[in-house]
Symmetry: C2
Subunit: 176 residues, 2 copies
Amino acid sequence: MSVGSLYQYYPNRDALLAAVLEGHLTSIACAIDHACREHRGKPVSEMASALVAAFVAAKLRDPEKSKALYAVAAERGGPELITAMQTRMIAAIAAMLASAADAHFEELPVTSAMVFSVLAGSVRAFLEGHAPAGFEAHLEGQLVRLLTAYLQTHQLGPAARAIDGPVGLKTKSPNR
Amino acid sequence: MSVGSLYQYYPNRDALLAAVLEGHLTSIACAIDHACREHRGKPVSEMASALVAAFVAAKLRDPEKSKALYAVAAERGGPELITAMQTRMIAAIAAMLASAADAHFEELPVTSAMVFSVLAGSVRAFLEGHAPAGFEAHLEGQLVRLLTAYLQTHQLGPAARAIDGPVGLKTKSPNR
DNA sequence: CAAGTATATGAAGGATCCTTCAGTTTTTTG
DNA sequence: CAAAAAACTGAAGGATCCTTCATATACTTG
């Protein structure tokens, strides 16, 4: 494909890159949407697994593309697109979390945003190659462990989680 | 300061930006180093608090600068600098974690890298403005909660943590 | 198959950004 | 204070990248 042809489909460089970025983000948002809808009402550990699996699979389907688009994300129009898609994904996560069988989230928006930012941040660090060698094998497993632990921090008290909960944590303010 | 003067101190644009980036990364690495050394032998919850506090404070000291440097980090020379500094910080975290009073880490390099990537990723997401409004107030607290929960996933069994441990988790493979 | 339409191509023009350097200002020295 | 050294300045030159457009190719239609 030649330079001139591109300008027949997009008015300028920014529009072209924005379109590519939008396609990429949309496919990821759809994957997250789907995973979240499929796992409503499940325990948080399953939610964490599903979310991590969906996000990692979507991002690593074409690692080169994902990586290259990080540069585009910072250019004109990028931040707006990202914010919009991110809002959508965080909403999907919030809807799923709200239905958790074994946890209740006092500050759903904050928790959802946190979950998403951890997912996106870790995968980005990995893709940009800053991660130590051999990290790929551990990424998904560690993310599941991390998010499960975080979400279980919000677990319901002994009375409510009698059905299937593992040995519990304190319900609130876990540190200090 | 004029354009010409800059070229009296740096041979070219890349060298100038690399110097600024290096200064920034060094100050952050020092903050992490210090926090890690100060908290050896402590329980993991205190380690998490200290790490989060140090990293967040260092990154948010000059938010505009931190944010602008993300762009530089992707340019020529950036990735090398980042990788070097990151290796240093992950090593510091590993040294601290290895001395935890209430936990043992089977795969120290993986866990340390994970902790760092979560810290860096979340703060970046926040700085780039993709985070929802009012997230600033929650960032630090949520990060502490998240990392504490993750690290406590590696807690020693009932026998070994008799000294001060809270109600424990399973020692290994916490999900599925 | 000829004429018409849609799409493809890449060299040339223009815009933007990096770098240089001749001349000026400030500081130091004897 | 005069002379020399050091540091500063910004317009001009050069390099790189974005965009256009005249021309070529491929496809459609009657």
